[in-house]
């Protein structure tokens, strides 16, 4: 299968017909992977496709049920991560494994400290770390404490740690999931530098854009099965997406023309403080009408989070008015707002959206548990609650099916989000506020969420979309409002928006 990509050199890593079973569940079913020296090789798959399982086998954390692993052409048996490290494989996990109060140098040499007699030779250690850091342009401060440096820097420390142990093959597990856009750009640069120096990088991800920007080859896994390996330059993002989910994925959101109706949400001269007590929303005006999606574009920290919290009643404002269908809900309770037409998909689904220990059926009635048909005279009607969950699971394709009694905690992120969407859409309110509704979701789930948001608009609801993903704002919004320093500084039709111009305005550049 992958023969056409094998060149003259022996591959540094080859995984042949890897099968991994847990009980009667097959997590990997005949996976092939071939990685050459100096290559950036992406492994693409939806959440739960079996990417991490595959890499855990390469790193010796678990053993394959059958299949061979070859490093530099020789068959190896990985019994534990030490075997993998000895074979020149390093892994940077999604969640870093660093000692917070230790310095960068101390963390990097931990377990392999150079010694001088019986004492540690931290000077040599520091020198080695600086050398390595400079060689790959990591610009790391060797004396900084981990707890004082950013997530992006911590990741570099993890990469250095692997390099320090002599890794020639680096496995990066979802490396961009917690990085800022700028940090992502820098990480990709670093990856290219490493590859140029002859290191091989295996990149586990479900983000297509990053694959296109960084990888040479991409191996796709779907539901534990090997789908294929492609040369990234020869395929488009949507090719990759359809291979990953097994059907055509449209990035372009289908939207029919709509004439907006009357104003549903009208925010007037709103002021509020942030958690530190500093004024963050400074006289903001905003309108959303029926049948339109208004997207708020802005850099995090310009007041969009607080704006939404005030509208939904979670935060008290200083002054201003928030009309929903003509009723002022400013500084009223969340329930008051809800009863007057506000529903929302909150930014943090685990903090605000769900009670993780509650079952799905109980999460689906979070606002309506006290109403007909879910209760009668303060007694819950369990049958009605169960039936509601059954139909929601069916209608919104929440997986696994028949999971009415399953705790929300056990669902994947995408399915947790589906539970919230099922609830908020069925609440059938005039205003839907969606904050970063697709954060952390894979392509299939994103498409799904977008479809439901547009559906709401088409049904004549007013939709307020707040997202840090500019692509999302641009593809969904009928009107884009740019927020900067607590005010809407520009409002333009979604069709006319230009990414660069928007970016400039978000950064406080001149108004258009």
């Amino acid at each position: 299968m992958s023969k056409e990509y094998v060149d003259m050199n022996t591959p540094v890593v080859e995984m042949r017909d890897i099968v991994k079973r847990f009980g009667n569940f097959t997590a990997n079913d005949g996976i092939q992977l071939t990685v050459h020296k100096g290559e950036i090789h992406a492994i693409l798959g939806e959440n739960g496709a079996g990417k991490s399982t595959l890499m855990n086998q390469l790193y010796g954390l678990i053993k394959p049920t059958s299949g061979d692993i070859l490093v530099n052409g020789k068959k190896v048996e990985m019994n534990n991560p030490k075997d993998a490290i000895d074979a020149g494989i390093g892994m940077v996990h999604q969640h870093f494994m660093l000692v917070q109060p230790f310095t960068v140098t101390e963390n990097i040499v931990l377990g392999t400290e150079p010694r001088k007699g019986i004492s540690l030779d931290m000077e040599t250690a520091r020198k080695n770390v600086v050398e390595l850091s400079e060689r790959y342009g990591l610009s790391i401060d060797p004396d900084a404490k981990i707890e004082d440096i950013s997530v992006g820097m911590q990741q570099r420390v993890e990469i250095l740690k692997a390099l320090y142990r002599g890794a020639d093959i680096l496995i990066l597990d979802e490396p961009t999931s917690s990085l800022t856009p700028q940090e992502i750009v820098e990480l990709i640069e670093i990856m290219h530098k490493l590859a140029k120096d002859g290191k091989s990088i295996i990149l586990i991800t479900h983000k297509l854009k990053e694959i296109k920007e960084s990888a040479d080859f991409c191996t796709i896994i779907r539901l534990g099965k090997y789908i294929g390996t492609v040369d990234v330059d020869t395929v488009t993002e949507s090719d990759l997406a359809s291979m990953m989910v097994g059907r055509n994925v449209t990035f372009k959101v289908e939207k029919q023309e709509m004439t907006p109706g009357e104003v549903v949400l009208n925010v007037e001269n709103l002021h509020c403080l942030d958690y530190r007590g500093v004024e963050i929303v400074k006289g903001l005006d905003l309108q959303v009408r029926r049948g339109e999606i208004v997207g708020i574009a802005g850099i995090d920290g310009n007041g969009q989070t607080e704006l939404v919290e005030v509208i939904t009643g979670l935060r008290k404002g200083i002054s201003g008015k928030v009309f929903v269908n003509g009723t002022n809900v400013f500084n009223r309770s969340p329930r008051f707002g809800y009863n007057h037409g506000v529903s929302s998909i909150p930014a943090d689904r685990q903090k605000h959206g769900l009670v993780l220990d509650f079952s799905i059926e109980d999460n689906l009635i979070l606002q309506n548990y006290g109403k007909d048909p879910f209760s009668f005279r303060s007694i819950l009607k369990r049958d009605a609650i169960f039936d509601h969950a059954t139909s929601s699971i069916e209608q919104f394709d929440i997986r696994p099916g028949s999971s009415e009694k399953r705790a929300a905690r056990t669902l994947s992120g995408g399915n947790q989000q589906k539970v919230i969407i099922a609830r908020e859409v069925q609440n059938d309110k005039d205003l839907l506020i969606a904050v970063n509704p697709t954060r952390g979701l894979d392509v299939g789930a994103i498409e799904y969420v977008h479809k439901y948001i547009v559906d709401q608009r088409n049904k004549g609801k007013a939709v307020l979309l707040v997202s840090f993903e500019l692509d999302e704002i641009m593809s969904l919004s009928d009107i884009i409002d740019v927020i900067f320093d607590g005010k809407i500084v520009a409002s333009l039709p979604g069709k006319e928006a230009d990414e660069n111009e928007l970016g400039l305005m978000m950064a406080g550049g001149k108004k258009s």
Binding site: K351, H352, Y369, G370, I379, P400
Partner: protein, 382 residues
């Protein structure tokens, strides 16, 4: 599906096994102490067993258990709803004093009026005691654990103060209140007690304890109130987002928890003592309630069983000196049991590998189900 949430959902859970192991460890450590002291393990534990298995012994166990069960319910209820009612001790004390005042001052009322009145007074007093702490917490954010511990002492001295008021204080030389009216007692008929030769304080308070158990279970599992309280208990933010009044829920939870502890005090007074002594130290019912709630996994029916177990230990323990074993052995056993239950809880929270293992397993099961579903849909097209 087997996952049906029922009365015994918690007992059926694997937590039950942890409790059993902890209890076993308690007796094991107790045995080590016995051996160190050169005493016979068989004789000590044999005595423990025989003193509770006779009819009379068993009736004592039930009598002892009544307030442990109800105070245990109080603490368990607070656990379920996300607060830690370490103030059950104080609520118990004000509850029993309120019942005593009613039982003494309204002594001429018939039992059918007086007894419910005593219960109500005790529950109201406990509820107020809990609510004050709740108010301090929700109004000014004062940590409920700290204020509760202080309120335990306020209750202690308040009770002693009231016991000293002439209208309440014993007419004789006893450092206690007067006896409450006979009509306020929950004792079984004397003839019945004599005929069966059971504990002279045998009373029908156990029925109240069982009813309270069912009621607490019902509130937690079946009502919108329980839904709200649990939601606030497990995720305050999501509850608020869903429109539930968080502060009101905390107040309600502490009031109900306090009322239960107060009821425990009334049951103790009306079933056993008949009067309240001037305290020289805290009685420890509230702390026993914490132990019972822990052993019972905060499940109402678990608490019922745990309360009986605790009552058996305390009563059986009081007979140990008959074979030359210090009663303090029971404290060693109880302490060890609580210690092991606490570590098992701690382990659940801290043992990342175990947690991760579990979620990975769950993920695998989910994936499997998804694959099955996809295969079904695909209908073997591949």
């Amino acid at each position: 599906m087997k996952e049906k949430k029922g009365v015994f959902s918690y007992i059926a859970d694997h937590r039950f096994l942890q409790i059993l192991i902890s209890i076993f460890m308690g007796f094991l450590v107790g045995a080590v102490f016995l051996i160190i002291m050169g005493l016979s393990v068989g004789e000590a534990y044999g005595r423990l067993l025989t003193s509770i298995t006779s009819l009379k012994g068993f009736s004592y166990v039930i009598v002892y258990s009544i307030s442990y069960i109800v105070v245990g319910l109080s603490v368990a209820f607070s656990f379920k709803t996300g607060v830690f009612n370490i103030g059950a001790e104080g609520q118990f004390v004000v509850g029993s004093m309120a019942a005593a005042c009613v039982g003494i001052l309204c002594g001429n009322l018939p039992g059918i009026v007086l007894i419910p009145l005593c219960f109500l007074a005790a529950m109201a007093a406990g509820a107020i005691w809990g609510s004050i702490v709740g108010f301090l917490k929700t109004r000014w954010g004062i940590n409920e654990v700290l204020s509760m511990i202080m309120f335990n002492w306020i209750a202690f001295y308040l009770s002693n103060f009231i016991a000293g008021i002439p209208a309440i204080h014993s007419d004789g030389s006893a450092e206690s209140t007067k006896n409450i009216a006979a009509s306020a007692r929950t004792l079984l008929p004397q003839g019945f007690i004599d005929r069966l030769n059971i504990a002279p304080t045998a009373n029908w308070g156990i029925l109240v304890a069982v009813a309270a158990t069912v009621l607490v279970w019902f509130i937690i599992e079946k009502t919108t109130l329980g839904y709200e309280l649990k939601a606030v208990g497990s995720n305050k933010n999501a509850a608020e987002y869903g429109g539930i009044g968080v502060n009101r829920s905390i107040l309600t939870s502490l009031a109900i928890s306090g009322a239960l502890a107060g009821l425990g005090g009334a049951l103790q007074l009306m079933g056993m003592g008949g009067r309240i002594s001037v305290f020289t130290s805290q009685e420890g019912f509230g702390f026993a309630g914490i132990v019972v709630a822990l052993i019972g996994c905060s499940n109402p029916f678990g608490v019922l069983v745990a309360g009986l177990f605790y009552g058996a230990l305390i009563y059986g323990g009081s007979k140990l000196n008959l074979v030359g074993v210090p009663t303090q052995l029971i404290n060693v056993i109880v302490g060890t049991v609580v210690f092991f239950i606490s570590i098992s809880i701690l382990f659940e929270r801290l043992n990342f590998t175990a947690v991760r293992h579990k979620t990975r397993k769950e993920q695998n099961i989910m994936q499997q189900e998804e694959i099955d579903k996809a295969n079904e849909k695909g209908g073997g097209k591949q």
